[in-house]
């Protein structure tokens, strides 16, 4: 326990499951947490995951309880793994669509769809676009219920480049450029 000094303690949180490391075993991503802790805080790792510590921790439990806990942990880990797999699949399948929409002859807006699938905050990204291209950029609701970012001007190529550079988690193949002509007017 800390001394009653007037400074708050700084608790280290696990980079994988965000819990304090001693609770990682309940988070469902134990293996990853262990790796993370070993790499980033080897001293803490020694304290929590060394064989002696584990021995001491499980000694007080009855055999039956131990078994139950192990089973439970296994189930949880499997669940977390499945969720992760699903998430990865979803990421692989989701596409960012950059659409150039003709607003008036020779005037365009660019709409960007599908960024939220990569865990980006649309509002912040929109602000970044606006700063980067020095144009208006906003988050608007689409009729189908989702949200998209609309940037003034034809900046579709630049947006693609910008996205690839800034948000490395988006694979290049998942970005799609589309041109959209106004419905009425000359058919292209």
């Amino acid at each position: 326990m800390a001394e009653p000094v007037h400074v708050g303690r700084h608790v280290i949180y696990c980079g994988v499951c965000t819990l304090p490391p001693e609770y990682c075993e309940y988070g469902g991503t134990v293996n990853k947490c262990q790796q993370w802790l070993e790499k980033n805080h080897p001293d803490l790792y020694q304290r929590i995951w060394s064989p002696e510590a584990l021995e001491a921790a499980t000694a007080s439990l009855s055999l039956e309880a131990k078994e139950r806990a192990a089973k439970d942990a296994k189930k949880k880990a499997a669940k977390a793994e499945a969720a992760e797999q699903k998430n990865a699949d979803r990421l692989a399948n989701s596409v960012v669509t950059i659409k150039r929409i003709e607003r008036n002859k020779r005037k365009y807006v660019t709409s960007v769809l599908g960024l939220e699938a990569f865990g980006l905050e649309l509002k912040k990204v929109a602000k970044d676009f606006g700063k980067k291209f020095a144009t208006g950029s906003s988050v608007t609701k689409t009729p189908s219920g989702g949200e998209e970012i609309v940037v003034q001007g034809d900046v579709s190529d630049e947006i693609e480049e910008f996205l690839l550079e800034k948000y490395k988690e988006i694979p290049e193949d998942n970005i799609e450029l589309v041109e959209d002509k106004k419905k009425k007017g000359n058919a292209a």
Binding site: M1, R9, V11, Y26, A69
Partner: protein
């Protein structure tokens, strides 16, 4: 209460300084032990922000750090990150090892987890009827982890865990600690805020 993985919050709102003041006093009356640290918890200079969460819960945030939340402007309950920073400022009870995994998956905390060998309930050091020095913080944890005062129903309490250093949950007692000891069964804390719940994972930036 925050069992869902992701909860949606309204954008942050700056609070008036008068409201900040009243929150500060209500925090101090609920947790007198926090007095020495209050300037660090709520620095006078920086402004408090409020986030509204589902179920009429308000979360108070200062400089991107969640401080505490309350429901219907009721009793303030500290956020676990605050508890980790100032563990000695809040009354605690302790659960045994077997109960940890249930609490961390959002179950109601039941009495047997506290009355067993690994659990710790308060042992009052000041007997009832004896005069208590007023204004003096005469509470604390003894070496074993027993809090030195019986806690009443409705009080916010921090839940520690056997063999762990950090707290694992906070919540409001639905039964006084005396009652828990006498009965030895039934729920003790309902709707707690626990490690890894929606509130814990909530992005406050």
């Amino acid at each position: 209460m925050f069992k869902k993985d992701s909860i949606t919050a309204s954008p942050k709102q700056k609070l008036k300084s008068s409201i900040q003041r009243s929150l500060r006093t209500s925090l101090l009356t609920t947790f007198p032990l926090l007095t020495p640290y209050i300037d660090e918890v709520l620095p006078k200079k920086s402004s408090l922000e409020q986030m509204k969460l589902p179920d009429r819960v308000s979360l108070y945030v200062i400089e991107g750090q969640p401080i505490f939340y309350n429901q219907d402007n009721g009793v303030p309950v500290p956020h676990l990150k605050l508890v980790h920073r100032f563990p000695q400022a809040f009354p605690t009870i302790r659960i045994d090892r077997g109960a940890i995994r249930f609490v961390l998956s959002g179950a109601t905390l039941m009495a047997p987890g506290l009355t067993s060998a690994g659990g710790r309930l308060p042992i009052p050091t000041v007997r009832e009827g004896e005069p208590v020095a007023e204004g003096v913080a005469n509470e604390g944890v003894d070496a074993e982890g027993h809090w030195s005062r019986e806690l009443e129903k409705g009080e916010p309490v921090v839940v520690m865990a056997e063999g762990k250093e950090e707290a694992c949950a906070v919540g409001l007692l639905v039964a006084g600690t005396k009652e828990v000891k006498e009965k030895g069964k039934g729920p003790v804390i309902e709707e707690a805020h626990f490690l890894g719940d929606g509130l814990w994972r909530l992005n406050v930036d």
